[in-house]
Symmetry: C3
Subunit: 284 residues, 3 copies
């Protein structure tokens, strides 16, 4: 039980990155991301509702594979990413971390594949988004948020730091003050505030939420994919390298913080069902 696995090797990269490995595979990997195609829109549904769609190694692997397949498929012009059940994603899986076989693709691969994705990515934030369930929003072209949904970055409360290039994408979307507050304060952010600060494009009613997002996606998917790709490529051009560099730098910081006394106190408090006390720790 650890937020990030104790195993950090990533056999596929020359740099160190946090790598999530889980022994617990509760279902067929293909079922972890449900896929639905309609009128050029591919919907990818995170499907671990019993775990509030928390990301374990299997889910990172399955989502990355689904993204690669969608980008390569010429019949797909827009993708929509959403969550099964009442949550979008509760973030890294606290239960199944540190267990399981190494998958082909890990968290850093998912980030890179989203940064390089050539067609529009729409996130339909149907419910709670915590940790990577909120930072992933910065990798989308558009996020639509259900009125009752909320987001939270719990990093400070866990002795950790942000990830998924959010230290770059969030200040760009929200301005540095709002982004810093969201990432440092560990406070919840409502749909209304997510809209005001620019982290999401639009807030839509809970009732009929996914269908409303899909209607927008289908409208966009009726346009030529050559245009969608060209305009997105222009918009992303000044940011891609910065996003990848931020993700790598965040991972290095995370690898260091996971060994810190503060993170150990956070884990101990979690196990002992008490509030952590960071003020007596010398972690300067």
């Amino acid at each position: 039980m650890s937020i990030f696995s104790a195993t950090f090797e990533n056999s596929r990269s020359c740099y160190h990155r946090v790598y999530w490995i889980s022994r617990e595979v509760t279902m067929n990997d293909e079922d972890l991301v449900l896929v639905n195609d309609e009128a050029g829109v591919r919907t990818l549904i995170l499907n671990r509702p019993e775990a509030l769609n928390a990301f374990n190694g299997a889910l990172f692997n399955a989502l990355t594979e689904a993204l690669l397949a969608a980008d390569a498929d010429n019949t797909v012009r827009v993708i929509v990413l959403t969550g099964q059940g009442r949550a979008f994603s509760s973030g890294m899986d606290l239960v199944s971390a540190g267990k399981g076989p190494a998958y082909r693709y890990g968290f850093p691969d998912m980030v890179d594949v989203m940064v390089d994705f050539s067609k529009p990515i729409i996130i339909a934030l149907n419910g709670v988004g915590v940790g990577v369930g909120s930072t992933i929003v910065g990798l989308a072209d558009f996020a639509f948020m259900a009125a009752s949904a909320r987001m939270r970055c719990p990093f400070s409360s866990l002795g950790l730091t942000a990830e998924a290039a959010s230290t770059y994408t969030f200040p760009n979307l929200m301005g540095r003050q709002d982004a810093s507050w969201f990432m440092l304060s560990a406070e919840w952010m409502s749909a209304e505030e997510s809209l005001r600060t620019g982290l999401v494009r639009e807030v839509l009613p809970d009732e009929g939420f996914l269908e409303a997002v899909l209607a927008k996606a289908r409208k966009m998917a009726a346009f030529p994919v050559s245009s969608l790709r060209a305009t997105k490529a222009q918009i992303m051009a000044p940011h891609k390298d910065n996003m990848k560099a931020a993700a790598k730098s965040e991972d290095r910081a995370l690898v260091s913080l996971i060994k810190s006394p503060a993170h150990k106190e956070a884990i101990a408090a979690f196990r002992e069902k008490r509030e952590p006390n960071f003020t007596d720790i010398d972690d300067s």
Copy 2:
């Protein structure tokens, strides 16, 4: 009848750029941009009201010449750019494209001259702004928008892509999500949403709109031009090269897309007065 001329040579540049050439010159070129001076404020009025101030080669040339003259004139401290009649500008001229003599200055020159303009540029968006009639807003220091005005980027619906450095300026002004939506969705944007997303500085009532903008401009023009220039130069310094690079890159993408099956289908549908069907085109 094509949105961008079939002729792309730009004798003045070493790189390729879309160049608009029109044989149809319906009026004296000097009359295409009306000029009015008052108290250090030079107002430049796009004057093709019968064509909703659509840009043809003659208008790009006339506006560029007017901008160069204004920047060189020490009695001018602030400029205001607006449109004659009910529109600001309906964008590239669909009717007169591909005809006419080559002018001294073309669209890419206009972009460069606006990026390099040393004194404050105020856009008074008096009415509809479509295509370059909206992307030009990203080149201004301030845009004021009449309450009933609207903007639209029709690029996706035409099988084309954005221009005038807007793929750089719009994400900086609006954040990447709102900018991507505006540029990819081809949807209209109201004055209220233009203000909320940061694309314009302020929305003013239709009644007395230009006079209200001019009053603000005159107030600014009472300040020393040395200060206005110095502060603008500092603000623009990190962006000028990026804006020019974006404009060049957009032009390259545009040159490629104009030959695409998708753009041909858009033109065919326009001629045949039917909806385009992009979904059966292999333009991946």
Copy 3:
């Protein structure tokens, strides 16, 4: 009586920067910045209420020393910067400029120390912020603003230009149009507009303002400083060099403008208690 001293040497730097030197030291330098510690939050209070906390050389020196001490002190996890009395800061001191001994640290040092500060900086904008009393907001991680407070950048009206890296930080926070307007127009900006444009994180009631900010600061200071530092470092990484470069470039422009006919006219008008007339000056 000049806004910036006639003496620009900065013995500590190899590049030119505006340096404020004051002979008038009305109180013990230690009293210029009051310090209060509580629960990991160090509050720094600008304490020249009789001068609306205007910055003179002594105050720049005292604040820089206080910042360096706070960053080095491991018991400090968050700092709050506010003003004694009814103002936050009225900016550069018009009365005591050009007098006094050289202090160890000057304005450019304060800027660098704030850019490099490793822990969260919260500004509690308790009242009026003018000139550097507003541009300093761009150096904070978060600004909270009392509902009745106002900000103003009077640079254009003085024949000068912006400072403290605000030509870089303000466009990043507010977008280029709102930032340019605030910095060029010399108009007052209300708390409501400061919030809408993104220059401050939140507006709080005047009643109990500082205590409300301190409550937020204490909550953040309960988190591990290792996390706060790591996340802030990631967020600041792409901006630090740009901020320092902007500050240096602004200073060079300021050194030039202080000698300009426009600034001399502003000073003459100030002395003669009349409106300045810049329109007859050849300052192109």
